[in-house]
């Protein structure tokens, strides 16, 4: 039987409440857009398998609640991610300001090699814009992140940004991937490899060490 994927890893969406994290995700996984989404409580999950340079990548995406009060909970999930989207809303200066706080939380709680990308969502609402594109670019540069302005509503830069973060994660794990090509029957399960050793049985197929 053909295997369903070559590599599996987790991406996390974080950012203030209402910046459109769930909308970004729904557009990416189901190509749907609902302007009034139900608010996310705790964390929601989606999955998609995409092809990057001939590698079948299955991404699990964890969509977190944005309210500050929930961060005690959501921070616990950072360490389980290989890539993180930091999302703000271009029509909300406050959500942009808060990126600093989100980024410092990532520094503190996420694993060292985690890949990050900055997203300014709602790019279609130009008439309500409060954060200039250059501001986003500048901030991303400061943090050494890639930057995209996106619109879940018009489907602008959605696929591009998800693919980019996927590529970044793949690049960061290139060594393990080369190993994978040699033993092509194996699946590389980054998500499980980086679990905190609580697993009861059969962790991952790859034998490489992750330190």
């Amino acid at each position: 039987m053909a295997k369903q994927y070559d590599v599996l890893f987790r991406l996390l969406l974080i950012g203030d409440s209402g910046v459109g994290k769930t909308c970004l995700l729904c557009r990416f996984t189901d190509n749907e857009f609902h302007p009034s989404h139900i608010s996310t409580i705790g964390v929601d999950f989606k999955m998609k398998t995409i092809d990057v340079d001939g590698i079948k990548v299955r991404i699990q995406i964890w969509d977190t609640a944005g309210q500050e009060r929930y961060q005690t909970i959501t921070k616990q999930y950072y360490r389980r991610a290989q890539g993180i989207f930091l999302v703000y809303d271009i029509t909300s200066e406050r959500s942009y300001q808060h990126i600093m706080k989100w980024a410092s939380d990532v520094d503190e709680y996420a694993p060292d090699g985690v890949q990050k990308i900055l997203i300014g969502n709602k790019a279609d609402e130009e008439h309500k814009r409060q954060v200039g594109k250059h501001q986003g670019m500048k901030l991303a540069e400061e943090y050494g992140m890639d930057f995209y302005e996106t619109s879940a509503c018009t489907n602008y830069n959605i696929k591009e940004s998800f693919t980019r973060l996927t590529e970044l994660v793949l690049m960061a794990h290139r060594k393990e991937l080369d190993g994978l090509r040699l033993a092509s029957n194996d699946e590389l399960n980054l998500a499980e490899l980086e679990e905190d050793g609580r697993k009861a049985d059969g962790t991952a197929n790859s034998k490489s060490c992750w330190c």
Partner: protein, 454 residues
Amino acid sequence: SRNFFSKRSKDLKSPAASAPGWKLFGKVPPRENSQKDCKIIQQEYEARTGRTCKVPTQSTRRKKYEIEPLSTTALILEDRPANLPAKSVHETLRHRQEYDEMVAEAKKREVKEAQRRKKLMKERFKQEENIASAMVIWNSEILPNWDAMRNTRKVRDLWWQGLPPSVRGKVWSLAIGNELNITPELYEIFLSRAKERWKSFSETTSENESEDAGVSLADREASLELIKLDISRTFPSLYIFQKGGPYHDLLHSVLGAYTCYRPDVGYVQGMSFIAAVLILNLEEADAFIAFANLLNKPCQLAFFRVDHSMMLKYFAAFEVFFEENLPKLFLHFNSYSLTPDLYLIDWIFTLYSKSLPLDLACRVWDVFCRDGEEFLFRTALGILRLYEDILLQMDFIHIAQFLTKLPEDITSEKLFSCIAAIQMQNSNKKWTQVFTSLMKDYKEGDKNSPASKT
């Protein structure tokens, strides 16, 4: 997984939905509908015989004007056009037989459908009768003697069956109680305070937003804005809480008044769902009183304050009963490091009002009001039990997706029979005992090593 279910239910529905099409057999279809009916019958015919008709649609349409068949299905009885070889006797007979079979099958289906509908009507009628008689009992016997009767076997059994919607709010109010001694007047005071705050908030924002006006004010603003944002995202499919909807202002008022009443808790996402369910069942001031008292229960307070260590105790207690009741699934979840927080947070924060269909969520609330926090965790185990077979086949991400977006076709009969089968006993210890002993361990562990917080 959600798709799987909705698709399946759709598939199940389709024969029933297209059933009227069968009535047309052997009769002249009404002229104006003929084109549509042709298609339906054609599809059904193809589906049933497992063959695809190779005649391109255009030529069928043309034919319709040329030969004017009695019905499309009866086409099988027609002779072939002159330019094609004629049917043999054998073939004609076979076609006659096939046609008769199709008609017989259609009739059988119609009878079956009629029977099904009759049964459904009967069940619904019985249900309504039950609700009506339960309502009489609640109104004339139980509610007038609430304190004496609430814990009797009879009332508890009737309670489990679900509260009649007309007494639901009243029973919830009584069961939740009013430890906080909130009066409608007090609610008005907090509401007017909230209104003042909204007014001053909209004035300050127009001045200068980015300038630092003190953290607490910014926080308060953020919280007020979040309420606004969340109201539009509360039961969006009902279209009653959204801007311009009949309950929009009510929900706004209850949540606003609460943030003034309990600034130490403030507004936390998930609250809007709880307030909305209460508003649907109670008058404004009573909804507020029930809301404030409900959130003051230890479990709700721990969650809405996001007291992480307390939440972990609740999850740990849940896992004790999870392992006891569903050992196989428990191991399966453990093997994927699928911890209960991933699905319980959503369920507990919103008291299932976001995850279950609203009528079913109300039934869970009914018994939650009777049994307390324990029932929230018992419901979770009931859900896991209901879907155990499916979940055992899934990996991490599929389980996580499934549990954070439960199938829409979940029924109260099935769920409640699964909940009933869950034993909230662990080596003779009940929920509260298990929870208390976990709390005790935690406190002692805390004394020994202050840094042992997980």
